[in-house]
């Protein structure tokens, strides 16, 4: 394997909590992927899909049950001291002593970090400099996340692990964080992030993988992942017309269709061909297709199709960028 090209190599990775058999729980089930240098790789998944369990193995916080992890060519668990100085980690839920100020916290962390940035520079990166004398316990959740990010960036890491970096941030802070992550990537930093904001993955990721029940069920560039899901055409048939009156659907490239109270949805992998056929038919028959709407799949649709609807009570598919009701409490996101 060419270590020069891939910064993170994962093969056949498994992580099991508790004993073998029904007592235990296998959170990560045989996953493999690689992340190239300078690439931004996003790990998506619903609650309990295994994202955090996977990232913790990559960070060297735990030993895999089976399989292999290489970060910068080293085993991050067994060769911790070789890997840690070159990576930056932001946990899903990190902690800082409540009674330290922001600046004191960064100073402490800097003392533990090889080649640390100056405190002011690190805080400036995440726009927290003016909060430097505030005690941790007085920070908002979003400010804590930004401080956490500042610490992850303190050692100018080659590889950055971000576990839900923008959860709890307001929209402005989220966009600032995206800008920062883009800038770091432009400077050559390899980034692996987990997120449940699909918008975030779509905006930032070069490559992404969608996890479900401990397995990677779809991966590739955002375009590839989206492209593997059918486009949709929706319309209503005028009174007196029925689906059976349409040309044979298979010939139009339709892979699936649904009808509900006169509204029809066609799914196709060849949107242009299906749409052309449909419109030519409508002109020929002089039929008005009411509410005609055609769209390629979005990452959200792909995600929902793969991961299934959110947990009970969650409005699945609530607008673009909506959190999918995933990943509540750190440590439980097995």
């Amino acid at each position: 394997m060419d270590i020069g090209d891939s910064v993170i190599d994962v093969s056949g990775l498994r992580r099991r909590y508790g004993p073998a058999g029904d007592e235990g729980f296998e959170a990560v089930r045989d996953i493999s992927f690689t992340v190239a240098r300078g690439e931004l790789f996003a790990l998506l998944g619903t609650n309990g899909a295994g994202k955090t369990s996977t990232v913790e193995l990559l960070e060297g916080l735990a030993e895999p049950t089976a399989g292999e992890v290489r970060v910068l060519g080293h085993d991050p668990y067994a060769e911790r001291s070789a890997v840690r100085p070159r990576i930056g980690v932001m946990l899903q839920e990190g902690g800082f002593p409540a009674d330290l100020t922001v600046a004191e916290t960064v100073r402490m962390w800097a003392g533990c970090t090889t080649g640390a940035r100056p405190v002011a520079e690190a805080l400036e990166l995440v726009d927290m400099l003016r909060r430097k004398d505030v005690r941790i316990k007085q920070l908002s959740g979003g400010e804590r996340r930004r401080l956490d990010l500042a610490l992850a960036l303190l050692g100018r890491p080659e590889v950055l692990f971000l576990d839900e970096p923008t959860t709890g941030l307001d929209p402005e802070a989220r966009h600032n964080t995206w800008e920062l992550v883009r800038r770091l990537r432009a400077e050559g930093t390899t980034v692996l992030l987990t997120t449940h904001y699909l918008e975030e993955a779509e905006a930032l990721a070069d490559q992404l993988a969608i996890m479900r029940e401990g397995r990677i069920v779809s991966s590739g560039t955002p375009e590839e992942v989206i492209g593997s899901y059918p486009a949709r055409i929706r319309f209503a048939m005028p009174v007196g017309w029925f689906v059976g009156d349409l040309p044979p659907l298979a010939e139009l490239g339709v892979v699936r269709h649904e009808e509900e109270r006169g509204r029809i949805e066609l799914q196709t992998r060849e949107l242009q061909r299906t749409l052309t056929g449909l419109l030519l038919w409508a002109r020929e028959k002089n039929v008005e297709l009411e509410g005609l709407d055609a769209r390629t799949a979005s990452l959200e649709e792909a995600f929902l199709a793969i991961a299934g609807a959110g947990p009970a009570g969650e409005p699945a598919g609530a607008g673009p960028g909506a959190g999918l009701g995933v990943d509540s409490v750190a440590g439980r996101n097995a």
């Binding site: 840690r84 100085p85 990190g94 916290t105 050692g155």
Partner: protein
């Protein structure tokens, strides 16, 4: 591939400095670390005034002041550190620290540095006060005293790390520290020297973790400890420290149980 064991002084100092700031901002912690040992010594001195120490061949002041080292180790190091480890664990600070370059041993030791500094300062103060104002002799065997203190500090840190795994909250840490505190006060010669105990009881008590520490400190200050006695105490102390360190490595929890 072998895991490299390296101890970085700058990293531990950085952690120790932060922990020192936190100690200064924690009134309960300051009370436990600074005031309690003094108050305990005061109380003990009054209490053992009633005990016949003729057999032990020591004065009340000698027993109280040498026993005071035990109180300092128990309160300023052991109990304070159990609270500190539990607090940092529950705040997820330990989990966060473990993602960095700092090794596990550095995290535990660095966090302990202020407590150790406070305890050693108190010990020095105790010797100075004893010699200048309470008519105790100057330290007879500084080497034995230093070894005793070193073992005491190392053992207290390791025992604190083990004990911290039993408490879920800082309040709970008061409870889980009490067994060792009570046993040590009663049996390790803090109040009643082993020499004043019946033989069988003294034999059993000599195996308690803090006993060799007190014996070394006491013998180091007051003199009269044979090489055989000193060697035995050192070995017992080392054995307890190793057992406690192993226990800490095995059972210390780095994140809250959910």
């Amino acid at each position: 591939m072998a895991k490299a064991v390296s101890i970085s002084v700058p990293r531990m100092t950085a952690l120790g400095r932060a922990e020192f700031i936190l100690l200064g901002r924690n009134k309960m912690g300051l009370y436990v670390a600074l005031l309690l040992p003094v108050m305990m010594v005061w109380g003990v001195r009054r209490a053992i005034g009633e005990v016949d120490l003729g057999e032990a061949g020591m004065s009340v002041n000698e027993v109280a002041l040498t026993g005071a080292f035990g109180y300092i180790l128990l309160f300023a190091v052991y109990q304070h550190l159990v609270s500190a480890y539990v607090a940092r664990r529950e705040e997820l600070v330990l989990k966060r620290l473990r993602t960095g370059e700092t090794s596990d041993a550095e995290i535990l030791t660095g966090t302990a540095l202020p407590a150790v500094a406070v305890a050693l300062a108190q010990c020095v103060l105790l010797v100075v006060a004893g010699v200048l104002w309470l008519d105790l002799r100057s330290v007879a065997r500084p080497d034995l005293m230093a070894i005793g203190l070193l073992l005491g500090v190392a053992m207290s840190i390791a025992l604190a790390a083990v004990t911290a795994s039993w408490a879920k909250t800082v309040q709970g840490s008061q409870l889980v520290t009490s067994p060792l505190m009570l046993i040590s006060v009663a049996g390790s010669g803090l109040m009643v020297p082993l020499e004043a105990m019946p033989d069988t009881m003294a034999d059993i008590c000599s195996l308690l973790p803090l006993t060799p520490v007190i014996q070394l400190v006491r013998g180091g200050w007051l003199g009269g400890m044979s090489a055989h006695e000193a060697g035995g105490a050192i070995l017992t102390g080392i054995a307890w420290t190793i057992v406690a360190a192993y226990g800490a490595k095995r059972w210390f929890r780095w994140e809250p149980r959910r």
